[in-house]
């Protein structure tokens, strides 16, 4: 153990926060391009990580292959959800996507419990036990992987959206699908592509979370909720603001645990969301009622 417990905890908070941010990123790109809330998103990742664990522990596949297998499954599941949503949910039924993905959330929990089991399992830690001590804080391979990966992915997605033609097509599809369509953009394919990329992100986050804790059929639910909360506070139609809030939530959680004890993490975060929404500026609340000609 390093010599700076607070520093250690802050590192833990930072890495947790980066994981929330990464998961939120996957959720946001689908929300912004497809206008869909995917309540089952955390479970998509869980499917990936849980399957990867199964492949590694029961079929004795080498870890990287097992993880690739999990990622592939996550992409398939998320794409399936995406296809259902894109083809079956008309835009004039708000809230329907939430209900449908809620059902999928239930379904996936039960499916994975049936296919594998209902217990929690230890996931192999990535990078073995290698660690380095910086300024009294123990930093292990998992932490470095999280920091590097999240910065790369977040930076990469941002560059994609802002600098490439694909990104422009994506933003056009998000703002006005009809116009994008008539400009020759294949909106449906693009949307599906976004769902697939989001599937990869979910699986990666789920594996990283699993290697820090353990994996079972429900473990991603709190991660997704905290990501949601960050999105709601930072703004679902923004980019860096909600991600920053997500990292902030990770650090806030760590501080709550440091000062108030191990079981304080959960209530601290959930109290935050309730209070934040009570004091929230009008900007984040539902649109004012305006009637246009």
């Amino acid at each position: 153990m390093g010599s700076s417990p607070l520093g250690q905890l802050l590192l833990g908070g930072l890495t947790s926060g980066l994981l929330y941010a990464l998961l939120l990123l996957g959720f946001l790109i689908v929300f912004q391009v497809s206008k869909t809330v995917n309540f089952a998103y955390g479970h998509v990742g869980m499917v990936g990580a849980f399957s990867a664990w199964l492949a590694w522990s029961s079929w004795a596949l080498p870890l990287p292959i097992a993880i690739a297998f999990g990622v592939l499954l996550a992409v398939i599941v998320n794409s399936a959800i995406g296809i259902i949503v894109i083809t079956k949910i008309p835009p004039d039924r708000p809230g329907l996507d939430l209900i449908v993905t809620l059902g999928i959330f239930l379904f996936l929990t039960a499916a994975m419990q049936l296919l594998i089991d209902a217990k929690a399992h230890a996931f192999p830690s990535l990078g073995g036990g290698s660690r380095v001590v910086i300024g009294g804080i123990v930093v292990n391979a998992n932490d470095i992987a999280i920091i590097v990966l999240s910065l790369v992915v977040i930076g990469g997605v941002h560059l994609l959206f802002s600098r490439t033609t694909v990104g422009m097509a994506l933003r056009a599809s998000a703002e006005s699908p009809a116009i994008a369509e008539s400009a020759g953009v294949n909106v449906r394919m693009l949307r599906l592509g976004v769902w697939m990329v989001a599937g990869v992100i979910a699986a990666v986050v789920a594996v990283l979370v699993a290697s820090r804790l353990s994996v079972d059929a429900f473990y991603m639910t709190p991660v997704l909720i905290k990501a949601f909360v960050a999105g709601m506070i930072g703004g679902m139609d923004r980019f860096f603001a909600p991600l920053a809030v997500a990292v902030g939530i990770g650090i806030y959680e760590a501080l709550a645990i440091y000062f108030l004890g191990a079981s304080a993490g959960t209530p601290a975060v959930f109290l935050l969301i309730i209070i934040a929404l009570a004091v929230i500026p009008k900007r984040f609340t539902a649109a004012r009622h305006e009637v246009r000609a």
């Binding site: 009622h289 246009r292 000609a293």
Partner: protein
């Protein structure tokens, strides 16, 4: 019961676009006023500003002597400023009668506890409210449809249901936004006649945004003309329609006459 409403130097902006420019006008008490103007003139914005659905950037709005500029829309409605919408807004899966009954909100009625627990006061109120609703439905010729679910009604009837909802509480001030839009010739005639009849009974202040000259001439004794967010003039239908400014803005600039 009737009230007049007055706008003074009202400006409404949507971002960089100015929808109403320093508009000053009055809807006189007890009079049926038509509001005319080409598309984009700001007629709907005017209704929104008067009813509180849009905030004004500057200027004041007075209901009789009372400054209501800062009152939210629901408060103005409780004071008796009731409006209809250009696109009819109804409780789609409820009956005609239930839709009209929604309009009884501003009438004195038993409190929520009485209603929820079905206490005696609630029974009595329910009976009298339904009678009022049926009266309005009869005036508008909808009596036979009172139990039908509105989403199965033809377009013209749906508009009439909204008008019924607006009128059921006998408000002192009524604002209707193109109530005849989409109606055929006969439908327009029936609506104008019904509105005239109700107005004759209660004498409230009524403003009707409309494009149809015949409709406006038949129903309204006062007409306000607007264009490009500005108030042009007010007067009798004959005066207004003969005025050269109105002729240019209404007929000269549009590519086809709005007959």
């Amino acid at each position: 019961m009737t009230d007049s409403i007055r706008a003074q130097n009202v400006t409404v902006r949507y971002g960089a676009f100015t929808a109403l420019r320093e508009v000053s006008l009055e809807l006189p008490k007890g009079v049926i006023t038509g509001v005319i103007g080409p598309n984009g003139a700001g007629k709907t914005t005017l209704l929104n500003a008067l009813s509180g659905f849009t905030a004004v950037h500057s200027g004041t709005i007075h209901l009789e002597d009372r400054d209501i500029t800062d009152l939210p829309a629901y408060r103005r409605a409780r004071l008796g400023v009731i409006r209809g919408f250009q696109t009819v807004r109804l409780l789609e899966r409820e009956s005609v009668l239930d839709n009209v009954l929604l309009g009884t909100e501003r009438l004195p009625q038993p409190g929520d506890i009485s209603q929820l627990l079905a206490l005696r006061a609630q029974w009595r109120w329910k009976k009298s409210a339904r009678e009022e609703a049926r009266e309005v439905l009869q005036l508008l010729g909808l009596s036979s449809e009172s139990e039908r679910i509105v989403d199965s009604l033809p377009f013209a009837s749906r508009r009439l249901v909204e008008v019924a909802r607006v009128l059921v509480s006998a408000p002192p001030l009524v604002l209707l936004d193109e109530p005849a839009a989409g109606l055929d010739q006969r439908g327009r005639l029936e609506l104008a006649t019904a509105l005239a009849r109700v107005h004759q009974q209660s004498g409230f202040t009524l403003a009707v945004v409309e494009h149809d000259i015949d409709f406006v001439t038949k129903l309204c004794t006062n007409v306000i003309a607007m264009d490009s967010g500005k108030f042009i003039m007010a007067g009798t239908p004959e005066e207004v329609f003969a005025d050269p400014r109105v002729q240019t803005s209404y007929f000269g600039r549009s590519t086809h006459a709005q007959a």
